[in-house]
């Protein structure tokens, strides 16, 4: 570290506080802040029993024998249900896992429910659960990720497992610069602040399910299939979601166990999961191992891109983390080869987690780009500009809109990238090595059919009803903004009713699809109301709907036009030159994501996404103990996510853009985009600071210490 000591100029100004035109504040903000907002677990019990799961502590066994006599005799216990007590349940493709619990005595993963204790209070239930003894027969060792074989998904849900275009070998042979590197991302858990909770009540053959779910309509459909009843007999209510990030998307065993148990015992049942149970009950982002090969000519123009990814899945289900997807559209190249594999391991099933697919995948691709830039002696921003494609490289489809060039240029300007000295270790500030790194961000655009009802009454008030969910993104404010603009009424006069399957059906709050899909349906209904009012009506009510174009796939992806979101992320990191700790000082993100409906909550989404990405980069690591077939730490002390002290100055902005291919509003999704690219930008900045290239997330002290000589400066 004999490089000159240079303190970089800090160019990032703090964003100004929002003015009146910056966007609509959350209509439910006060209720949430004061605790008046009632989440699922806050709703009155009204005579329901409270349940707790007893989960398998081994990963594989032929039989889990439950000894529950002592528990059944404990104070307040209503019932201890095992496989012997439960009705037959029918698997559904909408479930998080097809392993149906309490159907037999086999143990298929650690954390699988083997009994359900019901009592008058949660304390009684949990004490009684501690009295349940489980003995296991036919124990078998777990297979971990490193020991499992690659497998090909039999029914890929995202994209084909193998995709190719052009001649990869020829492209690599012609390359002046070649980079082949392997990168890994860690197992991560969603860890929302609100653990999942389900409250089921039967009235005759009719079920009301109060649940914290990202898709009330999907939950209703899935439950109907599992329970073998008509969806019309089920009402799902979700007032608020205390964070989900994907783990409340599909429907998981605890949810249908709650509904089934309520029927068995003939009274309502509320089942809150413990924090520890959240680590095995509703998915995680599985570890990935990815190899990226890039070939480029002397000017850095890509001649070939190859991206292979393999991720952990459970033994009985398939989950393909589509980490290679973005490599099919990010950079112009005559030759592409993408390959995705999974490994069946003994663990609870993974599921999408903010940001799935592109989140892990772009760490690998954007790290490799940085390695290529370094090797070729080309500025990382310039390298990306030189490889901006005109059409989607994998498919040849035109892009619906793509302002990535503007993101890169504006981001570089806002960050002060021009002042960067490309030499590693060239900036130092006291004890800290300073590094600047950047990466691109991108997400695919998912969409789904939605409906909404808008009613305007003569007293000037407007009511919007749509069966969407509020996960914390500020969806009610987005809806109120749309209606307010169409009708020309103040947002405060617009009441938004959501979270109930009695309302017009709407999209899941997942895959960054809610604003585009639900918002477009709301827009259609409001437009109809406006037209009737304009025609002289004093009052009007209309139902509007929106659906992806004909030919779109099951995830709402357009058949002929490539619709994605984009961005450029710049990060400054500080690495303690002696101790190896990494702190991020500032992040600049510029995004191309269609029309921004509510700038205030949009900025909040991107800011939260960037912080989420910092967790992926530096902290989140759910270590899997293969010996015991379990995640090592099922608590938030052992699984660290960023706290306020980790959060740097974050500067977020959007490129002006409207994309009418994406939605009627011209908007695309943003919720997950912010979390993409951050880990690569941080890793690239760490390399710039220290000269140490870390290819395994999260980046930590053990990675950096060997490369940092203890010396005075």
């Amino acid at each position: 570290m004999s490089a000159p000591t240079v303190a970089p100029s800090s160019t990032a100004a703090r964003p100004a506080p929002p003015g009146p035109d910056a966007g609509l504040r959350r209509p439910d903000g006060l209720a949430k802040l004061t605790g008046a907002a009632r989440y699922t677990g806050d709703l009155p019990l009204e005579g329901s029993a409270v349940g707790t799961l007893v989960c398998a502590t081994v990963p594989r066994a032929d039989r889990a024998v439950v000894h529950a006599d002592e528990a059944r005799a404990a104070d307040g216990v209503v019932a201890v249900l095992t496989a012997a007590d439960m009705p037959r349940l029918h698997p559904s493709p909408l479930l998080g896992t097809t392993v149906m619990p309490l159907q037999d005595e086999r143990v298929r993963y650690e954390g699988q429910p083997v009994a359900l204790v019901l009592a008058e209070s949660v304390e009684q239930a949990r004490y009684a659960a501690s009295l349940v003894r489980v003995s296991y027969e036919g124990l078998r060792a777990a297979t971990g990720f490193d020991d499992a074989e690659d497998a090909v998904e039999s029914a890929p849900s995202m994209s084909p497992t193998d995709e190719e275009r052009g001649e990869v070998e020829a492209g690599l042979a012609a390359a002046r610069h070649r980079v082949t590197r392997t990168y890994t991302t860690a197992d991560r858990h969603h860890s929302p602040i609100e653990p999942s909770v389900t409250h089921a009540r039967w009235d005759g053959d009719t079920l009301t399910l109060y649940d914290s779910v990202q898709g009330i309509s999907l939950a209703r459909t899935a439950l109907a299939e599992v329970l073998g009843i008509d969806a019309g007999q089920i009402r799902v209510v979700c007032p608020y979601i205390g964070g989900g990030f994907g783990c409340k998307g599909y429907v998981w065993p605890h949810q249908y166990l709650t509904a089934a148990a309520a029927r068995v015992v003939g009274r309502g049942v509320r089942l809150p999961l413990t924090r520890a149970q959240m680590f095995t009950s509703c998915g995680h982002q599985p570890t990935t191992r990815q190899t990226v090969t890039l070939g480029a000519d002397a000017e850095g123009r890509l001649t070939a891109v190859e991206h292979h990814s393999v991720n952990a899945a459970s033994r009985d289900d398939e989950y393909g983390e589509d980490a290679t997807a973005a490599s099919g559209w990010m950079y112009a190249t005559p030759a592409l080869r993408l390959r995705r594999r999974i490994r069946h391991t003994d663990r609870a099933h993974p599921t999408p987690m903010r940001a799935p697919h592109e989140g892990p995948g772009m760490f690998a691709l954007e790290s490799a780009l940085d390695e290529l830039a370094h090797e070729a002696g080309i500025d990382p921003v310039e390298l990306r500009l030189r490889n901006e494609p005109d059409r989607e490289p994998l498919t040849g489809r035109p892009f619906s809109s793509r302002e990535q060039r503007a993101c890169l240029l504006r981001g570089a300007e806002l960050f002060g990238w021009r002042e960067r000295d490309p030499r590693t270790g060239s900036m130092r500030d006291g004890d800290e090595l300073v590094g600047w790194g950047m990466a691109a961000a991108t997400m695919d655009t998912y969409r789904s059919a939605s409906t909404a009802r808008v009613r305007h009454t003569a007293d000037g008030r407007t009511v919007v009803e749509t069966g969407t969910q509020e996960i914390g993104t500020g969806q009610p404010g987005v809806i109120a903004t749309i209606v307010s603009e169409v009708l020309g009424v103040p947002p405060a006069t617009v009441e938004v009713r959501i979270g109930d399957t009695r309302l017009p059906a709407a999209a899941m709050t997942a895959g960054s699809s809610a604003t585009g899909s639900v918002g477009s349906a709301v827009h259609a209904a409001a437009t109809e109301v406006r037209d009737r009012l304009a025609a002289g009506a004093a009052e009007a009510e209309a139902t509007g709907s929106w659906a992806p174009q004909e030919g779109s796939d099951g995830l709402g992806r357009h058949p002929e036009v490539a619709i994605h979101t984009y961005g450029a992320v710049f990060a400054e990191v500080r690495v303690d030159a002696l101790l190896g700790t990494v702190r991020v000082r500032r992040v600049t993100g510029v995004y191309s994501a269609g029309r921004i409906i509510n700038p205030l909550t949009a900025r909040g989404q991107m800011t939260g996404g960037i912080i989420w990405g910092l967790g992926q980069a530096l902290l989140e690591d759910s270590r899997f103990d293969a010996r015991h077939g379990r995640f090592r730490s099922k608590n938030l002390a052992g699984y660290a996510v960023p706290v306020n002290a980790d959060v740097p100055d974050i500067d977020v902005s959007f490129v002006d853009e409207v994309d009418h291919h994406a939605s009627a509003l011209g908007s695309k999704g943003i919720g997950e985009l912010g979390a993409v690219g951050v880990s690569a930008a941080v890793a690239n900045a760490v390399f710039h600071a220290t000269g140490v290239r870390v290819r395994d997330l999260p980046i930590g002290v053990p990675d950096l210490l060997p490369g940092l000589a203890p010396a005075a400066h």
């Binding site: 002696l578 902290l619 608590n635 980790d646």
Partner: protein, 337 residues
């Protein structure tokens, strides 16, 4: 959790009597640690005695110019006490860098010392995993897993590789503080801070400290010193995380600014604050800011470091933290103290 009775203690005598007479008693002070144990099934007492009302809050000067701090003082209050901040910066810093503001506002000094290890197997949601501290004779899953980040470097055995999580204990050990405990009949016993916790080499692993079942911590005494001190905590998260390693250092500086003597205790490397005996002759005459020289000089102190998983990063990290703490202690100016 299991049902228990709850009473508030009126005086120390009745608490000592209850401890001596009734099995299944647990004392409740700040509650930030005991409640974890109850929820995880690590402890299942029949009776909780709330000792928050006992008169153990005084902070007073001792004859040698040190401080005697009541065991019920909150971490947050001690951390900002002017005498602590001025005279024992390592102690103030160790408290401030621990836990979160909410926890520091509740947690007490006496309770802080009685924290148990944060080893993920000891803290697991189930008692079904091998952990000799939790289920005697069941084994040590942490040793088998070979994870280095949470494992000890010193003083461990095949029985247990856990570390002690307290930051404050590390500062107290470096400051040569004393833990004052009270036993049956009010008998007082004084335990050096670096001898309060027990390593598996010193006692069966189910014994975490020298505190007996019928004893109560009443105070901590920090002796007066003219040596400046500092506390360095190394962790991946910037706040609210237990240390990978930490180091508390006191230094005695010669007139030319070189080191004349030093005392250093390490955290995160053993089931007790690990005092680096014999550091003074190694660092004497060196400049506190000479990182390379200090790093080389303290090397022999880490020759006995044994990571359970074999070679690793933690011994070197502890060595570097020692170097940083020595420099930081020397940089504390007279006027700041």
């Amino acid at each position: 959790m299991k049902e228990f009775t709850y009473t508030r203690a009126a005086d120390t005598g009745s608490v000592l009597a209850a401890l001596a007479e009734r099995p299944g008693v647990a004392l409740l002070a700040g509650g930030t640690e005991l409640l974890n144990w109850l929820k995880e099934g690590i402890e299942a007492p029949d009776h909780l005695i709330d000792i928050g009302g006992l008169p153990l809050y005084d902070i007073e000067e001792t004859a040698d110019g040190g401080l005697r701090i009541g065991a019920l003082q909150k971490m947050a209050d001690v951390a900002r006490h002017p005498d602590v901040v001025r005279r024992f910066p390592a102690l103030a810093r160790s408290l401030l860098l621990a836990a979160s503001p909410q926890l520091r506002n509740m947690a007490t000094l006496g309770g802080n010392l009685q924290q148990r290890t944060r080893c993920p197997y000891f803290r697991a949601e189930t008692g079904a995993l091998p952990c000799n501290k939790r289920t005697p004779g069941s084994g040590c899953a942490a040793l088998a897993a070979g994870a280095e980040d949470t494992a000890a470097l010193f003083g461990w055995t095949e029985e247990c590789v856990a570390t002690h999580p307290s930051d404050m204990a590390v500062a107290l050990a470096a400051l040569d503080a004393t833990v004052v405990v009270c036993g049956p009949g009010g008998t007082e016993r004084r335990v050096p801070a670096d001898a309060f916790h027990l390593t598996p080499q010193e006692a069966p692993v189910q014994r975490h400290t020298v505190l007996r079942d019928d004893e109560l911590i009443t105070a901590v005494e920090v002796p007066g010193t003219a040596w400046p001190s500092a506390y360095v905590k190394v962790r991946e998260r910037a706040s609210y995380e237990f240390a990978l390693v930490s180091a508390a250092a006191l230094v005695d500086l010669a007139d030319d600014g070189t080191l004349r003597a030093a005392r250093v205790a390490l955290g995160g490397v053993a089931h007790k604050p690990w005092v680096l005996d014999g550091i003074t002759p190694l660092v004497k005459g060196l400049r506190p800011a000479d990182t390379a020289a200090l790093h080389a000089a303290v090397g022999p102190l880490f020759e006995e470091a044994r990571p359970p998983a074999g070679e690793g990063f933690k011994a070197d990290l502890a060595r570097r933290a020692t170097v940083r703490a020595l420099r930081d202690a020397a940089a504390v100016r007279e006027g700041d103290r």
